[in-house]
């Protein structure tokens, strides 16, 4: 094998970098250790059990159970059992928005896909959207309206009491407050207005968990209106983000990931891509994807923005302002921005008005307004008013609020002043919650009027100006819930309210112009979205930059101790869906931890902590005047020294069995600075408790040999050269002539296969994959993949068919301790989705003693569960480590009832895909290339007596990917997208249907090519937009 010409080293975790003995032991044991042998049983016991087992089996076999088949009484005309129906709908969770298509079987939603007709989300989804289908079947949901302390009520009873009380308040002129997160639905807002008409003392307060109130205020100052504009990353050639994780949590990640990926696509014809600078404290997903990443402290965000302004102002001939701090890459970023004026974009995550005013000024200098920022299309994602919410909490404590309605929000948990609110609520006469679960806030309410889950309800949304979206129910309400809007209207004195009619009438009055109304309405419902033209407007910047700079200088001063920042991670996010085990078991995109809450620290601050294999210690974090928080430490390469990062969304106490008692609530750490919530705080101290802890992470699981043959990357500078070739192209010597070297694919011991019909293949672009993990959740839901819980993940027995390997890389020498430190200080990151490679010469197939894993005539590596006897030879022989063994029966097993409700509760089981077998104990499983979707696509074509069209068969991972990094299709079809992308040609024109295909795309490679297993998955080399390979 040729020696690799790059010096870069790749590593999954610090233990691998330092070659920790524990890690080496596990990495060398190719297979995860099995359950401990129970030596308590003798051979006699075994024989007894065996004898009983055989007898039991033969007895059980004598009489098969009688199974019932129960058809509909009155079958709906447009639905046939066993045929899936699809409904366009809308996902909203506070201000988070996604246009979706819901797949239902026999009236049960079982899968959510993106809606391609929406110009906002363009068919993309996120992990949280994909997982939300399981939240519908959450066992912690309320079954009926609740009155007082746990008393079951009918809706009539509840309405009577509530209306009585509200009328009483109205007569005495008491204040009523409706508290909610951002409301995207115009019809809901209209309903609240109607409620206000009836009860004129009502005030509506919106707040957001991840607030952007600072931006609203900054834009009000800069442009005269308190709005947040649309951002269009796809037009940006240079992106500078100061602590805005726009790929995970900032504003509208589903929208931004797709736009961002557009700028990251490269090909032989398009050898250019955006350049992305990130300045941040913790390693965020956006930071991990950046070309240049600079570590700053949270308190320096303002200063970095000021510095950037000054650098650009000097070029533009504007007046500079005081303050600023120089950081690596800042001058370079300013140069690049200046050179791409009109195609540049600067965003900041800060919720401080002053910082955002300076950012607006920078974008004004760069001419971003009208190109990468569209102020004529304001977005409604974040309407929360931090000041109003804080005032509300004060009013509650002062006893001046008589009634409060919490509309689908949980401020007791997810607002910084939650504890204050909780204690003050006793002074409020009437407390109502419309939450569909008894969450922390609803638990304190006098009345709970449970709303539907969004998949059961009619609704509408206006994510952006003139971009409307409809939500239609995909299932009849499972429990005795009622649309909150109907509750509001009923309490406002209306009778026989039907929120569906309300929406329909609103749309008729607001948007419908001419023609047959029913046809128009049906079309809207079918599309799920309605998009009306928006006129062009221009804005002129009128902000006071100098005042902003002095406010920044006054508000952020370097203090003593650690700086703590809190953030939404890519799994449970803000915690509203924390009780969803799909999200709890989704490895965090960066840390790869599951079911865990932790504090991230820089390696430099973690000296003395032996952080191998995620074995760690508890630390307490004390901040002045706050109760100390005790959390285990996770050492995070790339984090700024002197900072501590704590994810939000944990520490739930009333979410349900899944989420309760995982970690601590980090919301109370958020404080008001300069009139809005500030997500970082200084002056923290950090002490070890000496208590050891094991964090469950998938970080170094399924590790394989050398890295250079797995991850391939280059710089844009190199890629732009005309004769660019991949740096690592293995060659093998043949016995005939040792000097003659050939590509490993040219040699084979096997006769090969002939794929006369289809030859399924997949291409994964490492350049556009951002590592978010939506595909992992989509795969779980589509394929009934078991969730195993924290303990089993620690035992390395997670069942995910698709994992995202996160590699850190650096080019420092790691021969000594100092080298290790440099390597881990600020590494580059690569994400690589890894799934069954469907090898044509599959090593697993040859070692199976019972032929349970075989090759199909269409190139699939098939796994036949009912044939498998569980030798695990295949997993041992798999070079990619993508096979998963069912160590336990994960279904109908009390042990896994919490972690895996989809297979253990009657309610949860409704989410299972009826076309995919639920696997039992003792069998192997792995990615099937969504064979059920392939078979369904083929059958559809056959029924219509036509050939299969490209794009008809879409795997679940591909469908969920908002960046389009995954392309699946028939490589036998020269017209398919994958064939064109990879430039596929048969290796032997005489045998065009053979397994051997040549790829003409120079970026295409196969992982571990040199072992000659000939996978059906190609990866496209990652390209970094750097001037040289070295950072």
């Amino acid at each position: 094998m040729e020696k690799e010409s790059t010096k870069k080293i790749y590593w999954k975790g610090l233990e691998q970098l330092s070659n920790d003995s524990e890690f080496v032991k596990h990495a060398h044991n190719e297979f995860a250790p099995g359950p401990e042998e129970d030596l308590g049983h003798s051979r006699r016991d075994f024989l007894k059990m065996m004898g009983f087992g055989v007898a039991a089996v033969s007895l059980a076999a004598c009489e098969a159970p009688i199974r019932k088949a129960i058809p509909y009484v009155n079958k709906p005309e447009d639905s046939t059992p066993s045929v899936a129906d699809y409904f366009a709908s809308t996902y909203t969770n506070g201000g988070d928005y996604c246009s979706i298509v819901v797949k239902t079987r026999e009236g049960r939603p079982i899968k959510i896909d993106g809606n391609e007709l929406s110009s906002v989300t363009k068919g993309g989804t996120s992990a949280q959207v994909e997982a939300s289908v399981l939240s519908l079947y959450d066992n912690a949901r309320l079954r009926f309206p609740r009155l007082g302390e746990n008393r079951k009520a009918t809706w009539d009873e509840l309405d009577m009491e509530i209306t009585d009380k509200l009328r009483g308040i109205n007569l005495s002129n008491g204040k009523i407050v409706i508290v909610s997160n951002t409301i995207l639905s115009p019809s809901t807002k209209a309903v609240i207005e109607k409620f206000k008409e009836k009860y004129p003392t009502t005030q509506h307060v919106q707040y957001d968990q991840g607030s952007n109130y600072g931006m609203l205020k900054a834009n009000e100052e800069s442009f005269g209106t308190a709005m947040i504009p649309s951002y269009d990353f796809s037009k940006a050639k240079v992106i500078v983000s100061v602590a805005a994780d726009f790929l995970t949590s900032w504003l509208a990640p589903v929208e931004f990931t797709g736009q961002y990926a557009k700028t990251r696509e490269v090909s032989e014809d398009k050898k250019e891509m955006s350049r992305h600078y990130q300045f941040e404290a913790g390693m965020s997903l956006a930071g991990a994807n950046a070309d240049y990443r600079t570590q700053i402290k949270p308190s320096e965000e303002g200063a970095v923005v000021v510095q950037l302004y000054n650098l650009l102002a000097a070029k533009a001939g504007r007046e500079t302002i005081s303050g600023g701090v120089d950081k690596p890459h800042l001058a370079k970023a300013a140069n690049d921005l200046w050179n791409s004026r009109g195609n540049a974009l600067v965003v900041a995550g800060s919720n401080d008005k002053s910082v955002q005013v300076v950012v607006n000024a920078i974008n004004d200098i760069l001419g971003s307004y009208g190109t990468t920022i569209l102020p004529n299309i304001p977005v409604n994602y974040r309407q929360g008013n931090d000041q109003a919410m804080a005032d509300f909490v004060k009013e509650v404590n002062a006893g001046s609020v008589a009634g409060v309605i919490f509309y689908n929000c949980n401020p007791v948990y997810d607002h910084p002043m939650g504890a204050q609110l909780a204690s003050g609520l006793s002074k409020v006469q009437v407390k109502i919650s419309t939450s569909y679960k008894e969450d922390e806030t609803a638990a304190l309410a006098d009345y709970i009027a449970p709303d539907h889950h969004f998949l059961e309800a009619w609704n509408d949304a206006e994510p952006k100006k003139n971009h409307y979206s409809l939500a239609q129910p995909a299932i009849t309400p499972i429990f005795k819930s009622r649309a909150a809007q109907e509750s509001f209207l009923t309490w406002a004195g209306e009778t026989n309210v039907d929120y569906f009619e309300v929406i329909k009438n609103n749309w008729k009055n607001w948007f419908y112009k001419s023609g047959n109304f029913q046809t128009w309405w049906d079309r809207c419902l079918y599309n799920g979205v309605l998009e009306l033209p928006v006129e062009e407007t221009s804005v002129s910047f009128g902000g006071d930059v100098a005042a902003a700079a002095s406010a920044i200088a006054a508000n952020y001063k370097p203090g003593n101790g650690f700086e703590v920042f809190v953030f939404e991670n890519g799994t449970v996010g803000n915690g509203s869906q924390a009780n969803n085990p799909l999200l709890q078991e989704l490895p965090d995109p960066i840390t790869k931890a599951v079911w865990e809450h932790y504090v991230t620290v820089a390696p430099a601050d973690a000296k003395g902590i032996n952080f191998a294999e995620a074995k760690t210690e508890y630390f307490t974090i004390s901040i002045n005047g706050q109760e100390p928080v005790k959390l285990p430490v996770l050492v995070q390469p790339g984090q700024t020294p002197g900072t501590l990062g704590i994810p939000l969304g944990y520490g739930r106490t009333n979410a349900g069995k899944v989420a309760d008692d995982i970690g601590k609530n980090a919301y109370p750490l958020i404080a008001m600075v300069n009139g809005s919530l500030n997500y970082s705080v200084g002056g923290a101290s950090f002490q070890a408790t000496g208590e050891r802890y094991q964090i469950a992470t998938t970080q170094t699981h399924q590790t394989y040999m050398a890295r250079q043959t797995v991850v391939q990357e280059t710089s844009l500078a190199n890629f732009s050269k005309a004769d660019w070739k991949r740096e690592f192209q293995p060659k093998v010597a043949t016995w005939k002539d040792p000097k003659h070297k050939v590509a490993p694919g040219e040699l084979s011991m096997w006769k090969g296969h002939e794929y006369k019909n289809h030859h399924w293949g997949m291409a994964i672009d490492l350049n556009t994959c951002i590592g978010c993990g939506a595909c992992v959740v989509a795969c779980n839901v589509e394929n009934n993949v078991s969730l195993v819980g924290r303990e089993e993940v620690i035992n390395r027995r997670e069942m995910h068919w698709l994992r995202i390997d996160r590699y850190y890389s650096s080019d420092a020498e790691v021969s000594d301790v100092r080298g290790l430190e440099i390597a881990a200080e600020n590494p580059e990151v690569v994400f690589q989705p890894m799934l069954c490679q469907h090898c044509n010469n599959a090593p697993c197939e040859t070692v199976c003693p019972v032929a349970a894993t075989t090759h199909s005539t269409e190139g699939l590596n098939q796994m036949t569960y009912n044939r498998c006897i569980g030798t695990r030879y295949c997993a041992n022989n798999c070079p990619y480590k993508v096979r998963r063994f069912n160590w336990f029966k994960y279904h109908d097993n009390k042990q896994f009832a919490t972690a895996n409700p989809a297979m253990n509760t009657d309610l949860g089981k409704m989410v299972l895909n009826p076309d995919v077998t639920v696997r039992s104990r003792g069998v192997m499983e792995k990615c099937s290339f969504c064979v059920q979707r392939i078979q369904n696509g083929k059958l559809q074509a056959k029924k219509e007596k036509r050939s299969l069209k490209d794009g008809e068969v879409v795997t679940a991972c591909q469908a969920s990917c908002s960046t389009g990094a995954i392309v699946f299709g028939d490589v036998n079809d020269p017209e398919s997208k994958i064939s064109k992308l990879l430039k596929i040609a048969p290796a032997n024109p005489e045998k065009p249907f053979g397994i051997d295909k040549i790829t003409g795309n120079p970026r295409a490679y196969q992982v571990l090519e040199e072992i000659g297993v000939k996978p059906n998955i190609w990866y496209l080399t990652k390209v970094r937009n750097k001037d040289s390979a070295k950072a």
């Binding site: 088949a69 058809p71 009484v73 046939t80 036949t864 056959k942 029924k943």
Partner: protein
Amino acid sequence: MIKVSLYSITRSITTFVLFFTLSVSFAQEIPETPEAIADGESLFNANCKTCHRVHQKLVGPALANVYDRAPSIDWLKAFIKNSAAVIASGDDYAVNIYNEYNKTQMTAFTGLKDDQLMNLLAYIKAETEKGPPVAATTTAAGGEGTGSGVPAAYLNIILVGMLVILTLLVIVLLFLVSALKRFLDQKDLSEEDKEVINSPYTVGSITASAGFRFIMIFIIASLGFKWTINTLFSVGVQQGYAPKQPIAFSHKLHAGAYEIDCKYCHVGAMVGKNATIPSVNICMNCHRSVKTESAQIQKLWAAADWQPETLTFGPNQKPIEWVRIHNLPDLAYFNHAQHVNVGNIECQTCHGPIEEMEVVKQYSLLTMGWCIDCHRKTDVNTKGNEYYDKLVELHNQANKEPMKVEDIGGLDCAKCHY
């Protein structure tokens, strides 16, 4: 002004009348093309056959000559589309039929287009002209056991022949033994040898011999082994399973005597994985008026909570819990649409002579071997299906045999197991 408008009105009326008569006279031509008749036949089978025959009175009148008998073709169209409206309009002819057939309401076929109705009439006309069928000759659902190999009759002859040969062989051997004995008797032999020769064959001596014991043990062990294997293979196989159903529904009557198309009730067979057991509303299409006094039909009415006054389903519906007969294990995926729609396989191929079954039983083994066997033997139904074009072309390059399911991956594990 008035004149002009009057003129325009009269003109438009004349045009309208002209157009109307033209279109009517055009429409009244019953087409006679084979395509129209074929289309009519399939429409008839799918929609009408449940209640009507051409030459025989069933639930509704025999349809022979209906196009001449009825007041007009347009009347027929209106009646088929919505008979209730025609009856309600007080039309004499319609009211008479309604009363004659015990006030049985005909299902409304609003979905049928005019040209489809004409095709339907074309079929009825063609059948009318053919005249009633002469005593139907029942052909056996032939071809049983006609696979490859020797016909059964020959097998019997061979067996008898072999038996005769074996008997002859035994006789010859007996002759040989007695001849040898006689020969030895004439010789001078020692006492001991003579004793051996003259010792008689007793049952005891035979059963005591080692050879006999070995053979017996071998036979018993083999039979036992075979029995065990057979038993194990039949675990979970429910061939012949014919449980009692909550309603004594007879396929013999519906599918046999009335020749109702299977897919009229089992609507899923053409589109989905499940053929689907018919929902009560399908039964009620006919049984709202047919044989309503029967206790079995009353069960249907109870399930639907049928309101005969309003002809609607009531609020207290209760689904019927049929006993499932064909139980594939969860690990096996089977799709009816693939076999019935794409493969054009007759229902009887797997479900047996369902039209003769009073109580349905599981006819086939439904084991994996049974599936595989059929996939090996069956030709792919590629005719007119563009999906298979490339495959057929490639197959014919190398083979003269027709393309079997096996040849296009019909034995792949992931065709049924995923």
